[in-house]
């Protein structure tokens, strides 16, 4: 992962800047940053990626760093990633299969209090 082009701000040595030595107690104005700029989105906005592939590679790098598996050996990384991936896949499958049914049942239960009572839940499921 090498250096990316970045918009140059105050740290650009090529642009002469008038810098004031911040030596006094009241020199800083502290303002809280804007509402929830997430730590991933902000650098991503600053960095310029040459291609989608590079962006995906950077996202993968962040995933390695955050979960801590950056320090593991490649085969351990594969084990962890496959376990995580299968867990997520199972979660998606389960939600795809079961969530609509549960939502429909819940809605009918609550509408049944105010409205018509169904004969049986078996009739509902078919």
């Amino acid at each position: 992962m090498k250096t990316h082009e970045m918009p140059r701000g105050g740290t650009d040595p090529d642009v002469p800047l008038l810098m004031l030595s911040v030596s006094c107690a009241r020199a800083h104005t502290h303002t809280l940053r804007g509402p929830s700029t997430c730590v991933i989105c902000e650098p991503a906005r600053k960095m310029i990626f040459k291609s989608l592939r590079e962006y995906l590679a950077w996202l993968y790098y962040q995933y390695l760093l955050i979960t801590g598996i950056y320090v593991l050996e490649p085969w351990e990384k594969s084990i962890f990633s496959s376990i995580l991936f299968s867990a997520i896949a199972m979660a998606i499958y389960t939600s795809y299969v079961f969530v609509p049914i549960h939502v429909r049942l819940a809605l009918e239960f609550f509408s049944g209090i105010s409205g018509v009572q169904p004969e049986s839940t078996v009739a509902l499921m078919t």
Binding site: T11, P13, S23, A25, I40, M47, L65, Y70
Partner: protein, 531 residues
């Protein structure tokens, strides 16, 4: 170090060296300071110290990272135990399996499962002097850091942001080192004896007088090793039955010395006077921190100690030479009378570019230590070239060599510190500590990022020191930059530029407070052109 009772004089020591008549009235405050130089405005007591908290998700992710690596650690241990994987660690022989175990398996869990994976970031071989730039030997590992191999190439002129070289005395300029070379010619290098036997040279006497006059105390004694100065002298001063109040973030040498002494130790929360007071306030030692960058509140501590009739042991390993308008440490910074501090301790490793430590104070104290300290009696005396290096550095700082080089360096360090810290804060990193401290800890938090940071910076030819658990709390892993008076503005700018890029690349800018430098409200404004 609890020694005497209310009369304040050193007690009559019996041969076994343990005395403490009255537990209640003894004690010392011990403090280790590490700070940048002051601004010369002694009245500016309020220091800006910041210890910003990271967002909650950062702590969660840190624990997550550690948890996952720990799980894999158990898994790998299981594989090693079963025999599916070769064990690279020391193990007892088959015939010795029934003996008392020599290598404790579980204690080294962290070491073999986390540290070993990433230990290429530590113990890097340096092959030049540790000046503002240095050379590193390139080394690679073929088996995931169990063994290393030097490739033969050298990384030249990497910027050194890790050495304790605050005033830039780690230099190899032949003119400056002329006196050191002459001393080596005259005295040789090894002393071949301890101070008590036949190892006290005239140059040691000269150094001790100079240190005493530098610190404005009666007398001082120097030792060959800084760590040993603490760990060997505290048992000589305090004994069983005394009480030591120790700051939570004390250095290991102080903790070791306190434990060796056999006194009761009570720890109080770092730099809090209320904590100190609550802890009985009778005796105590307060020590500043090595990893944090905060300043001790010396005047208040002295007031407390007078109120409770305790003794103060001040450890200035990092602040001597670097703090205070003329480099005389925190006592000068806060305008405290040096006679109020009972035992002043410091080391020569950091600001003077040498090795060793000193203890300074009243003549009776120092004379007592000459006979009863383990370091003085058993340890080898300080080497003559090292002694001369300290002499020349100290004379330079005091201005006795006739030039203003010392003051220039102190000012340069102050300027570098302020600039560097301000720019890093502006970029959005979380920095701990006092604004004047030349030790800049940048919080990285997650174990993966700590390692990635060190490796990325090395690729960009900047040498940094990163520290994680267990030297720091588990959620506060950091990189620690040590600024030097010999860093030029161009070097700092280069480091800052790379820090900016790496910070974005690794998403390290956790600070939620926006800093902007405001031109009109400043007391002192220096206009500098960034070119």
């Amino acid at each position: 170090m609890a020694i005497t009772a209310a009369n304040g004089a050193l007690p009559h020591l019996s041969p076994n060296g343990v005395k403490c008549e009255d537990i209640k009235r003894n004690g010392c405050h011990n403090k280790r300071e590490k700070n940048g130089p002051g601004t010369g405005i002694a009245s500016r007591q309020h220091k800006q110290e910041s210890f910003e908290q990271a967002p909650m998700y950062v702590a969660v992710m840190t624990y997550l990272g550690f948890g996952i690596v720990t799980l894999f650690g158990y898994f790998r241990d299981f594989l090693r135990a079963v025999g599916l994987e070769k064990c690279n660690l020391a193990q007892e022989r088959e015939e010795q399996k029934d003996f008392v175990p020599l290598y404790q398996d579980f204690e080294n869990f962290y070491n073999r499962n986390l540290y070993m994976r990433v230990r290429d970031n530590w113990n890097r071989p340096v092959c030049s002097l540790p000046g503002p730039v240095f050379d590193l030997m390139e080394r690679v590992s073929d088996d995931y850091n169990w063994t290393f191999r030097l490739t033969g190439r050298t990384i030249h002129n990497a910027i050194n942001m890790g050495s304790y070289n605050y005033l830039g005395f780690a230099e190899n300029n032949a003119d400056f080192l002329k006196t050191v070379a002459d001393t080596t010619q005259q005295y040789g290098v090894g002393v071949c004896s301890t101070r008590q036997e036949i190892g006290t040279l005239s140059i040691h006497e000269e150094l001790e007088q100079l240190v005493a006059s530098f610190l404005r105390v009666e007398s001082s004694m120097t030792f060959g090793m800084g760590f040993a100065t603490n760990s060997m002298n505290i048992p000589a001063i305090v004994g069983k039955g005394g009480l030591i109040l120790s700051d939570e973030l004390n250095h290991t040498s102080l903790i070791l010395g306190a434990r060796l002494s056999g006194a009761t130790i009570r720890v109080f929360k770092h730099n809090t006077l209320k904590g100190l007071q609550r802890r009985g306030g009778r005796d105590g030692r307060k020590v500043g921190v090595n990893m944090e960058g905060s300043v001790v509140r010396l005047a208040e501590i002295v007031a407390l100690k007078k109120k409770y009739k305790a003794y103060l042991y001040l450890d200035e390993a990092h602040s001597i030479g670097a703090v205070g308008p003329s480099g005389r440490g925190v006592a000068e910074l806060f305008n405290v009378n040096p006679a109020d501090v009972d035992v002043m301790m410091g080391t020569f490793t950091k600001s003077f570019g040498a090795a060793g430590g000193y203890i300074a104070g009243k003549k009776e104290l120092v004379d007592y230590l000459r006979s009863y300290s383990h370091s003085a009696v058993y340890a080898s005396a300080m080497s003559p070239p090292v002694t001369e290096q300290i002499l020349r550095a100290m004379k330079c700082i005091m201005g006795k060599d006739g030039s203003t080089e010392g003051i220039r360096r102190i000012r340069q360090l102050a300027e570098n510190t302020r600039y560097f810290r301000a720019k890093l804060k502006e970029m959005g990193f979380i920095i701990y500590g006092n604004d004047d401290s030349p030790v800049v800890p940048i919080l990285l938090y997650m174990p993966g990022k700590v390692v990635a940071f060190a490796r990325e910076m090395l690729e960009r030819k900047i040498g940094v020191v990163v520290v994680g658990f267990p030297a720091t709390p588990i959620t506060e892993a950091r990189a620690r930059f040590c600024l030097s008076a010999s860093h030029t503005r161009a070097m700092l700018n280069q480091v800052l530029r790379h820090m900016n890029e790496v910070g974005d690349h690794l998403c390290l800018k956790f600070s939620r407070v926006k800093y902007s430098s405001c031109p009109d409200l400043c007391d002192e404004t220096d206009f500098e052109l960034d070119s």
